[in-house]
């Protein structure tokens, strides 16, 4: 299963190579050209001789994780987060360290040895370390270097009634959507951008959009689902099982209202379930693509996802399928009618 394979690849921001290679191998022969730009974005062009507006479809390959910032004389690794991670979820998780994918576990002082005050407060990352089973610093240095990136070691699988769990669904689910769409034939020039370093500041998309200079862009993302207690209804920005979420505004973009209207119209015409992302917080690559050169109309379509930015997140496979259907229907509409804005 593609989503499982993608989820289990490790590509913490700036070390996206395994994901890039996987995608590159998979799309070979199906597109006009494949290239990797200087920041590491994988760009696949399809239908370049076709008339019509140039459309960029973007999903980021990177995931949140950790970085080795020091090696203790004991051989334990000091760590920092890469991207936005709730430090409280880290303790006792299994990880894979560096290019050699050395197995490790995130350790901390056990409860028996903690002072009363320590027990009352969540552990800060400065109190955590990664144990790779080394006997001392020089033993650890055989396999690990400062600056090595650390990914969560988690198997992905379907469970429950049509749900799927795994790490890095943000945004391998988006990558999987693009990999599905890339199989289709559209009468449009399309640029598929599998980007780097989104989680540390929308960096790959910034340069990818400058290089591609598209007429319109769709960012395919995951977004936090708030359908968990004790959040009240109005605090849930999206819900699992209600279809892809269409954004009207976040901290990085106000989506052109005509574009939002078009997405809604296409979804309703095609009978595809959708929901609005009922929040204005957060930001995606659409923000920087929108600001590229003289400006690019951009929209965000997200798959609702519980517990994102943690070692295990949950999405609904029907939302995933509906997201593909919606984007396909939108591209078909643009084939017929041209740019929506």
């Amino acid at each position: 299963m593609l989503l499982k394979e993608l989820s289990e690849l490790n590509g913490v921001s700036s070390r996206e190579t395994p994901v890039r290679h996987f995608i590159r191998d998979r799309i070979g022969g199906k597109v006009d050209s494949i290239s990797t730009d200087r920041l590491g974005n994988l760009i696949a062009l399809k239908g370049q001789t076709k008339k019509g507006p140039k459309i960029m479809l973007s999903a980021h390959m990177d995931e949140v994780g950790l970085m080795v910032v020091g090696i203790d004389p004991s051989g334990l690794l000091k760590i920092k987060t890469v991207g936005g991670i709730d430090e409280r979820v880290l303790i006792s998780k299994r990880v894979l360290v560096g290019p050699k994918q050395i197995p490790g576990v995130i350790g901390a002082k056990p409860i028996h040895l903690q002072e009363r005050e320590e027990r009352q407060n969540p552990m800060k990352i400065s109190a955590l370390f990664v144990d790779v089973g080394a006997t001392d610093r020089s033993d650890a240095e055989k396999d690990v270097k400062i600056g090595d990136l650390i990914a969560f070691d988690v198997k992905a699988e379907a469970f429950g009634d049509g749900l799927f769990k795994g790490k890095a669904l943000d945004d391998r689910a988006g990558c999987a959507v693009l990999l599905d769409l890339i199989e289709n034939q559209y009468d449009l020039p399309l640029a598929f951008a599998f980007t780097v370093q989104e989680e540390v500041g929308l960096r790959g998309a910034t340069v990818a959009a400058f290089g591609l200079n598209p007429d319109l862009a769709f960012v395919v993302e995951t977004t936090s689902a708030g359908d968990v207690p004790p959040l009240k209804n109005h605090q849930a920005s999206t819900r699992l099982g209600q279809g892809p979420a269409i954004s009207f505004m976040d901290h990085a973009i106000i989506v052109n209202p005509a574009l939002v209207e078009q997405l809604v119209a296409v979804a309703e015409e095609a009978g595809i379930a959708y929901q609005f992302r009922q929040a204005t917080s957060g930001g995606t690559e659409a923000g920087v693509i929108n600001q590229a050169r003289t400006g690019v109309p951009a929209a965000v379509i997200s798959i609702p996802c519980r517990y994102i930015h943690s070692p295990v997140s949950v999405l609904n496979l029907d939302d995933f399928a509906q997201t593909i259907k919606l984007l396909d229907a939108v591209l078909r509409k643009i084939e017929q009618r041209g740019l929506p804005v």
């Binding site: 209804n233 505004m249 106000i254 609005f276 009922q278 204005t280 917080s281 003289t294 400006g295 109309p297």
Partner: protein, 329 residues
């Protein structure tokens, strides 16, 4: 100028929904420029050619506002902010949606005002149910403050003086300029309040030699105010710095000399916070010397902002003087 300001501030056009104000400004200036165009993000660009240095003047058209995020089962709307809005300033204010629907902002019970956040506020549009509310307003719809323009004589009070004041200055300068000595790119920008967005993309397209933003700035002339040198009635403010820009010394000197030469009242502006379109323009491509002519304004980002018409007039004269001065950089 007062009438122009009244018309401009009466229009509701928060960031991302600038069309009504863009339409109004386009009609005002179409006879006073050589070319008028709207770019991808919605910036209105009026070109008036005088040869020589290419100057981009930028005044943002958008204003702060709110956007509906959810509608609850009783018909109350929850919302997010568009631009910088303090929740304390919102309680009991009225907002107006595009179709004219008026809403009043209410608050959940809060024991300590320090705990007041936007999440605790809601908009009541007088709907008795979710279904009724949805016949009037949808998720994703935007509203602006609903507040009349008040003429206090030499001073005026209105919503959205930030930055319809800058728009009024640029419109008036375009009308008054007789012999432009530079190529003027008068840009009425979008989405300044959410991150200088229109200025960024318009400057990339225009690629000017010089950038000058026209915007409002805070003052220190009210009781127990923050320590700021700017005051109402002190003249046009030539910016020295804010959080996004240190005015290029050439631009600061140019504006100062022109003000001195033409006897235009001016004051220097050092703002320890905030930013304007010039913050984005000066970092465009390989860099563009930029500055700001500001209009001092009290109670910024509230429904009742106040300025002095003498300062507005001084700003117009300084912009016209810049337009008519052969600039070499």
């Amino acid at each position: 100028m007062k009438e122009l300001l009244r018309k401009l501030t009466t229009i509701a056009a928060p960031s991302g929904r600038e069309e009504p104000v863009r339409t109004f400004i386009a009609a005002e200036i179409q006879d006073y420029c050589d070319e008028l165009k709207v770019d991808t993000l919605g910036n209105l660009i009026a070109i008036k050619r005088g040869g020589g240095t290419k100057i981009q003047f930028a005044a943002h058209m958008d204003e702060i506002g709110i956007i509906v995020t959810t509608i609850d089962e009783k018909g109350f709307l929850r919302f997010g902010n568009i631009g910088g809005i303090s929740p304390h300033r919102l309680i009991a204010q009225r907002v107006r949606f595009k179709d004219g629907t008026i809403g009043v902002i209410g608050s959940e019970k809060v024991d300590d005002l320090k705990d007041l956040t936007l999440e605790k506020l809601y908009i009541d549009i007088g709907a008795a149910s979710e279904a009724e509310a949805k016949t009037k307003v949808g998720v994703g719809e935007i509203a602006a403050f609903d507040r009349d323009f008040a003429d206090l004589g030499q001073r005026v009070v209105a919503k959205a003086l930030d930055n319809r004041a800058g728009c009024a200055v640029l419109i008036e300068a375009l009308k008054r300029v007789e012999k432009p000595q530079n190529d003027l790119y008068c840009t009425f920008t979008v989405q300044e309040e959410v991150g200088l967005r229109g200025a960024r993309t318009s400057a990339f397209g225009i690629e000017p030699d010089l950038g000058i933003a026209l915007d409002v700035t805070g003052t220190g002339d009210t009781p127990e105010a923050p320590k700021l040198a700017m005051k109402l009635g002190g003249g046009a403010a030539i910016k020295i710095k804010d959080s996004y820009l240190i005015t290029h010394p050439l631009v600061k000197d140019l504006l100062t000399e022109l003000a001195e030469q033409h006897g235009i009242p001016y004051q220097y502006e050092v703002l320890p916070f905030g930013g304007t379109d010039a913050g984005a323009i000066h970092l465009t491509k390989a860099g563009i010397p930029s500055g700001v002519i500001s209009i001092p304004c009290r109670y910024l980002h509230s429904p009742s902002e106040m300025l002095d018409l003498n300062d507005l007039e001084a700003a117009v004269r300084l912009v016209v003087a810049t337009m008519e001065h052969p600039i070499t950089l």
